[in-house]
Structure formats: structure tokens, C-alpha cells
């Protein structure tokens, strides 16, 4: 039954890896701004479209 030592060891190592990932993420400031990234994510498509199309776009009316 020494397998339980291995299982315990592995599970704790995995848990600690995730925990370290969390600490690193906090340290890098990933949780400091919780709004801008959500908007920025949506811009990628617009950028590509913009580069392929050099004429002035007509404004969207709404």
C-alpha cells in the first residue's frame, strides 16, 4: 500500500504548482485591472480587418 504515499505526494505537488501559479499571477498584477482585458480581447478582429482595408470606412449609423 505504499502507493498511497505516491498518490498523496503527487496530489500535493500538483496542488502546490497551481498555488504557485496563483501567487505568480497576483504578483504580476493580472488581477489589478479586471475590465480592460475583457474589452481588449474583442479588438483583435478589428485590427486585422483594418490592415487589409486601407480605404476610409463609412461610419456605422445607429
Amino acid at each position: 500500500m505504499s502507493v498511497i504515499y505516491m498518490l498523496l505526494g503527487i496530489s500535493i505537488v500538483v496542488a502546490i504548482i497551481f498555488f504557485i501559479a496563483f501567487i505568480v499571477a497576483v504578483k504580476k498584477g493580472q488581477y489589478d485591472d479586471d475590465y480592460t482585458p475583457s474589452v481588449r480581447m474583442l479588438f483583435e478582429d478589428e485590427l486585422v480587418k483594418e490592415q487589409s482595408n486601407s480605404t476610409i470606412k463609412n461610419k456605422k449609423t445607429n
Binding site: 500500500m1 500535493i12 489589478d32 485591472d33 480592460t36 474583442l42 478589428e46 470606412k57 461610419k59
Partner: protein
């Protein structure tokens, strides 16, 4: 989109809009921004939001100081000679278009390698190469596209602000350990005496022990520190029983597993610390776009133009010496007290007093620091350095170094004193009983009482109630600095208001006409003459007068600082000061605009402050429970008006200097008053700091307001009474939670004193009491919030 609105900024276009590319623009500035964007394929800006832009302002020469090495060094956060990184605050950031354009700055200037927006803080972080561009160019580019950064003296300090994230780390560690310990402790609760479990339980127990080490010594260290500090001051604050509980839990559990007496209380221990930290975390509601700590430095510029031997050189404002000749451009702030030498000075002191009407100054007049020049260039001579000026001197007062919270005992700490004494006496009585009955159990009972009585639920009641109320207030545009402020708000008994800008509104003013009735042709001419003038009084009067058709004047002339003159057909009109139109100055206390037609004096318009809506109602609601007073920096011109509006017992005090306001509050506090100060300008800063609760009223929360405990949006002014009432009800909720948690404690203590406290009971009782308190407080504050919203 409305066709009459500018494509770029959305403002209503005047009679002659500019057409470009089939789009309408209100001014050349907006058109230019559009041109810049369309040349660089950035018109996507207009697709994301309708009319997102701002009109760029004229910045000629304004940012010359940014080419100075020492200023660049202070402003940039990274600088290796080739690459510089700067974080700029841009108040205009308000929509997704803003984020998009600011993150595409590299398309407008190839020297910029990247830019990143923090929307909440309204900041953009720009990285650029100094061999192709510079800080000045970057700032000018931003200004040219309508995103003028706000650079103030506050940015001018060495060292980056360190963000304190230790609470998140601690919460993470406590949560991590709590989860793991729960898993490890569960088997023993359910499978008593099982073969495999018996074999491995020691391993499980020691694992739990190691998981709880960082919880006790890192995550929980604040409680030990705070308890120690409290004891040294001979105070039994709430952290004393908590620290005692944590320490006893840890020692008892360690002893239990070392001598194989039981599985220990590690799950209760980690759970306790986790819940307590969660409460602390919830109590912190930060508004990233607001600052409660501002002083004059946030308003003042970094550099100013000095004239020496005919040369203009930018100098840092701290280097201003007595006798320096300074050049103040349009829209620039006067950094130090001085004397006007030349130019037409129209000074806007709204930062200082809250009064938005500009003051006209003649050559030789004294100018005070904090005023903003609003028309053209002026030259002045400094009389004092920045720190010694009339306004800035206020900040050398002791009151700005005091911490208000230190002198306030929260409800939780008040109850904790009695609580701790009671628990200790129960523990001692129970132990002495067991010493005589069954000595082997005595130590067990003593520790059990301290463990189960650990006031987790009591410590959670206030953070969750006040934290939730803080969020509810925030949604209703009442931004409170921290939870203690709400408790203090519930305790006040005196309310003091500033007058100008606080109970009066900046936006609207009313005027009455006195004199000969104007003929319709004269009214027509008057309205059209005012139309051409940009003077604030002209604009105000123009908005009050009835609509008339637009005519083209034959002659129009504005005499700066005096008035305006115009003619149409045979009519001739003069509008302005008494001396300009040839009338006798009647009253110096009032703001008048005199009018003469064809050199015959007709009459005058007298401006009155317009009071905020709901003012009378608010004061009548407040007068039952509170002493009310108004402290005004102005003269007593409005005394009669105020007397009519406000309850008779309201004290009205005029001609108060910033220091006087502070002293007035201090005096009343020494007589036992708990003062709520409501103010707005920098001249109230001292009073706001001295009062028990200082509330700054703000027309636009994104614009600066002085250091305070809470910021109230001006549109919610009439609801002040409801906010105070809600704070009082929150205190009642906390008291009920205390009763609830004391019931849990009584049940727990029954198990403890009878010597039956098994780890599983603690493991059930502790989370149960904590969670039920959290649920109770959250539900009842939400109920309170809903009632508040209905009234609003």
C-alpha cells in the same frame, strides 16, 4: 445619431458646422483629429462607439517643460536612455473606443512601441524609443487627438507606488490550506477505527500540521501583531480573543497529534483564519478611479514658465522664488501667490472655493495660488514660494498628519472588551471546577472554551455588513473610503455645510432684472450681443434670457474686464460693469451686470446663487436629529435668501477662511460634537480632515476633489439623510448579528465546559456560525439597499 451633432465629439454643432468627408464637425479641432485618424486607417475608432472623442485644446508651449531631463527622469518609470516607459493619467478615457485608439498609438507615431490602457484607473502606459520620439512628443500627440494627459505635481515624486497585495497572498494561502486540511481531516470524522485509516492517520495528521504552519505564522500574523499592539495600549480589541483562539487551537492540536490524543482542530483553525481574512478582503472596496488622499499637489502643475531677461524658460514650481516673473498661459494654474503685472486676468477659483464665476483682476492686484487663468496670457510676479502660499499653507497643519481611525473605537472593539473578560472568566471557572472533579480533563476544558469561543462570527459581522453597504452606496454614487467611515457616519450629531459649490449649484444660476423695462428690440440686441461673448457672466445671462432670432450685428466690441458694446441699425447697447455703462456701483456684495441702451442707463441683472434641488427638504429632514450649520468663505450677501430657505435653527456663518473652518469644527468637537462636514473646494480641505466624517461633494466624480472620507455625487445631494439613516440601520444589523453569534457561542461553550468538545463539533459549529452570520448580514443589508433605492 443626431445629424446636428459633431461626428467626433458629439457636441451640438453651432450654426456653421464644418463639413469634411460628408461628416459634420463642430470645430476645426475635431476635424483635425478625424483627419489624423483617417490618414492612419484608424477610423475604426468611430465604429466602436458613436462620437467618442473630445475636442483637443490648444497646447502651444504648454508641455515645453517635458523636454527637461530632470523632469523626464521623475515622470518615467523606466529609462535606460534608449527606451522610456511612462504611465499617464488621462481623464477622458471613458469607452471602448478610447481603449482601442490608445492601444494603437504606435500607428500614429512609429517611435511608440506599445501602449496599454488600464480602464479602471484611466491610465495609459506608453513605451517609446527616445531616438525617434520623446516624452513631449508623446504627450503632444495624445493632446492632439483629444486625450490630454493630466500631469500634476502629484506625479512628481521619486519611486513607484507599491501595490500592497499581501492580503490576497494571505487569503490564497489560508484558502489553499483550508481546502487541503478539510480533505485530510474528513476520513477520521466518518470512519472511526477503520483498519487502513488507523495505519495512515498519523501521516494525515502531520500533513495537516504542516499545512497549518503558514496559516498560523504568515496568514494569521496580523491578528497577533494587532492584539499585541492593543494589549500594549491596554486595549482589549477584537483581535485579542482571535489571536488567543488561533494560538490555543494551534498548540492544542499540535499537542494532540504529538501525544496521539486526537486528530486536532486543524480544519477549524485554517477555516477560521480563512473566513476572517475573507471578511477583511470583502470590507476593502476600492474605487480605482477615485482618490481620497488628494492634496493641492494633485491640482498643481509640475512646471511653470519663468521670464528672465526676456527669455522664457520652464522651471519646476518648487523652484519658484520670491520676485520671479512668471508667465501663465490660458487654462494654466497659478502656482504661488503673486502680483499681476500685465495681461487680462480672469481667474477661476473654482478649485479653491467651489465658485465657478471668474474674477477679474487688474494689473497690480494680488493673485492667490490655486486660481486658473481663463483668458489669454498674463504675467505675474511671485510673492511667495509654493509651500508658503495662502492656500498651500493649510497643508502644513497638524490635522493632515493625523489618522482619524486611531481615535475611533468601532462597535466590534467595544463589545470585544466585555466578551474577552467573560470568556476568560468562564474558562477559569470551568477549569477550577474540573480540577476538583476530574483533574485530567481540566486542561482539555480550558483550551476547549477558548477554541469554541473564538469570536469568528462577531469579527465577521461588521466587515460583511459594512462592506456590503459600501458597495450599495457606491452603486448609488456615494463613494465611501472604508467601512469605519460608515460607522462614524452613524454616530454624528452635527452637520456642517460649505456654501458655494456645496449647497449651491455651479451649473445653474438665476438672475433678476431691476430697472426700466427693456423694449423687444433692446432684448433682441441684448441676447445677440451676449451670444458673441465668452465671458462666464455673458454665457450665464445668455442661457437665462428667452430665445430670439439671430441677427448679424453691425458692430461688436468686447472690452476685456469691463464689458461689451454692440450696435445694430440705430440701436447701441453697452453691457458690463457699473463704471463701464456709466452707472453708480450700488452694492459690492452682489454680482451685477449693468445695461445701457443708446447711452441711457436701463437697469441691471443681479445674479443669485441657485441652490441645489431638495435643499430645503433635506435640511428639514435633518433638523430633527442634528445640529446644522453653514460655513461660507463668502460675504453675507446671501444671508436673507438662506434664512428663507433653511430651518431657523441653522447657524449661518460667513467670511470664514480655510483655517477658521477648521478651528470652528475643532472647537465644537471639543464640546462633544461629532461633526459631518460637507464641502467641495480645496479651501474646505482642512475642515474635511478635521471633521469626524468629511464628505466631498462633486459635480463629476472623475474630476478632482479634496482629501476626504467619502465622495458624494452632486446629483444625490438631496439623499444625504437617507444615507445617514442607512448607516444607522447597518449598526442595528451588526448588533443583531452579535446576538446571533452569541447564541452559537453559548451552544459551543456548553460542549466545552462539559468536556465533550470533539474536533468534529468544532468543525461543524465554526463554519456554520460564520456562514449564517454572512448570510444574515448580506440579506439584511441588501434589503436595506433596496429600500434605499426605492426612495432615491
Amino acid at each position: 445619431m443626431n445629424q446636428d451633432n459633431c461626428f467626433h465629439c458629439g457636441d451640438v454643432c453651432d450654426s456653421d458646422p464644418i463639413f469634411y468627408n460628408e461628416k459634420k464637425f463642430c470645430c476645426n479641432g475635431c476635424k483635425t483629429v478625424y483627419e489624423i485618424f483617417s490618414e492612419n486607417d484608424l477610423t475604426c475608432y468611430y465604429d466602436l462607439e458613436v462620437s467618442p472623442g473630445a475636442t483637443p485644446k490648444d497646447i502651444e508651449g504648454k508641455y515645453d517643460f517635458l523636454s527637461q531631463e530632470n523632469i523626464i527622469e521623475k515622470l518615467t518609470e523606466f529609462n535606460d536612455g534608449k527606451t522610456q516607459i511612462v504611465t499617464l493619467y488621462i481623464p477622458h478615457i471613458h469607452c471602448s473606443s478610447c481603449i482601442w485608439i490608445l492601444e494603437n498609438l504606435n500607428k500614429l507615431n512609429s517611435g511608440i512601441s506599445s501602449s496599454q490602457v488600464n480602464f479602471g484607473k484611466k491610465q495609459v502606459r506608453v513605451t517609446y524609443h527616445t531616438n525617434t520620439t520623446s516624452l513631449k512628443e508623446t504627450v503632444c500627440l495624445l493632446s492632439n487627438i483629444g486625450y490630454e494627459p493630466y500631469i500634476s505635481l502629484d506625479d512628481f515624486k521619486t519611486g513607484r507606488k507599491q501595490v500592497n497585495r499581501s492580503l490576497i497572498y494571505k487569503l490564497g494561502i489560508a484558502g489553499f490550506a483550508f481546502g487541503n486540511v478539510m480533505f485530510l481531516s474528513f476520513p477520521e470524522y466518518f470512519e472511526v477505527g477503520e483498519f487502513w485509516l488507523e495505519k495512515y492517520k498519523h501521516l494525515f495528521r502531520w500533513l495537516m500540521f504542516f499545512f497549518s504552519l503558514p496559516v498560523v505564522f504568515y496568514a494569521g500574523q496580523d491578528y497577533f501583531i494587532s492584539a499585541f499592539k492593543g494589549l500594549r495600549k491596554k486595549l482589549l480589541n477584537i483581535d485579542v480573543p482571535i489571536a488567543l483562539g488561533i494560538a490555543v487551537l494551534f498548540l492544542r492540536s499540535s499537542v494532540d497529534i504529538i501525544f496521539d490524543l486526537g486528530s486536532g482542530f486543524f480544519d477549524s483553525l485554517t477555516g477560521l483564519v480563512f473566513f476572517l481574512l475573507l471578511g477583511k478582503f470583502f470590507q476593502q472596496k476600492t474605487y480605482s478611479f477615485l482618490s481620497f488622499e488628494r492634496d493641492y499637489k494633485s491640482y498643481f502643475p509640475i512646471a511653470i514658465t519663468k521670464i528672465k531677461d526676456g527669455h522664457e524658460t520652464p522651471i519646476q514650481v518648487y523652484d519658484i522664488k520670491k520676485g520671479d516673473r512668471l508667465l501663465i498661459r490660458n487654462e494654466e494654474l497659478i502656482p504661488a501667490d503673486g502680483i499681476l503685472i500685465s495681461g487680462n486676468a480672469q481667474i477661476d477659483y473654482s478649485f479653491v472655493t467651489g465658485e465657478s464665476k471668474t474674477v477679474n483682476k487688474q494689473s497690480g492686484d494680488k493673485l492667490f495660488a490655486g486660481g486658473k487663468q481663463t483668458s489669454g496670457l498674463i504675467e505675474m510676479e511671485a510673492l511667495k514660494s509654493v509651500e508658503q502660499s495662502y492656500l498651500t499653507q493649510l497643508w502644513s497643519h497638524d490635522v493632515f498628519n493625523q489618522n482619524k481611525e486611531e481615535h475611533f473605537t468601532t462597535l466590534t472593539n467595544t463589545i470585544s472588551k466585555r466578551f474577552t473578560i467573560t470568556i476568560l472568566s468562564i474558562a477559569i471557572i470551568a477549569t477550577s471546577y474540573w480540577l476538583s472533579a476530574d483533574a485530567s480533563k481540566a486542561l482539555n476544558v480550558f483550551t476547549s472554551v477558548l477554541i469554541i469561543a473564538c469570536p469568528c462570527a462577531i469579527a465577521l459581522a461588521a466587515p460583511f455588513t459594512l462592506g456590503n453597504l459600501l458597495r450599495i452606496f457606491g452603486k448609488m454614487k456615494f463613494y465611501v473610503k472604508n467601512a469605519t467611515v460608515i460607522e462614524q457616519l452613524a454616530n454624528i450629531n452635527t452637520i456642517i455645510f460649505d456654501k458655494t459649490g456645496t449647497i449651491t449649484s455651479n451649473k445653474k444660476s438665476t438672475a433678476t432684472y431691476e430697472g426700466d423695462i427693456l423694449s423687444s428690440s433692446e432684448e433682441l440686441l441684448l441676447k445677440n450681443t451676449l451670444r458673441g461673448s465668452n465671458h462666464p457672466l455673458s454665457r450665464a445671462l445668455y442661457n437665462i434670457l428667452e430665445e430670439h432670432q439671430i441677427i448679424t450685428l453691425n458692430h461688436f466690441e468686447e472690452h476685456l474686464g469691463k464689458g461689451i458694446e454692440a450696435s445694430y441699425n440705430n440701436e447701441h447697447i453697452k453691457i458690463g460693469s457699473a463704471s463701464f455703462v456709466g452707472a453708480k456701483e450700488t452694492s459690492v456684495l452682489e454680482t451685477n451686470v449693468h445695461i445701457s441702451s443708446n447711452n441711457y442707463y436701463k437697469g441691471k441683472f443681479t445674479f443669485y446663487n441657485s441652490y441645489r434641488r431638495g435643499l430645503s427638504k433635506l435640511f428639514n429632514e435633518l433638523k430633527k436629529d442634528y445640529d446644522l450649520a453653514i460655513l461660507s468663505g463668502d460675504n453675507a450677501g446671501e444671508l436673507e435668501n438662506l434664512k428663507k430657505l433653511l430651518p431657523s435653527k441653522t447657524k449661518l456663518i460667513f467670511n470664514q477662511k480655510p483655517d477658521d473652518k477648521l478651528e470652528y469644527i475643532k472647537y465644537h468637537q471639543s464640546e462633544g460634537a461629532k461633526v459631518l462636514m460637507v464641502g467641495d473646494g480645496l479651501n474646505d480641505a482642512g475642515a474635511l480632515a478635521q471633521s469626524n466624517v468629511g464628505v466631498a461633494l462633486s459635480e463629476n466624480v472623475n474630476v478632482f476633489s479634496p482629501a476626504c472620507d467619502a465622495i458624494l455625487d452632486a446629483s444625490k445631494f438631496s439623499q444625504l439623510f437617507q444615507f445617514i439613516k442607512a448607516s444607522k440601520q447597518a449598526i442595528t444589523i451588526i448588533k443583531w448579528s452579535f446576538i446571533l453569534s452569541l447564541i452559537y457561542n453559548c451552544i459551543g461553550i456548553y460542549f466545552a465546559v462539559t468536556g465533550q468538545l470533539a474536533p468534529v463539533i468544532a468543525a461543524i459549529l465554526m463554519p456554520l456560525s460564520s456562514i449564517s452570520i454572512v448570510v444574515f448580514t448580506t440579506v439584511s443589508t441588501n434589503f436595506l439597499g433596496r429600500k434605499l433605492r426605492k426612495k432615491g
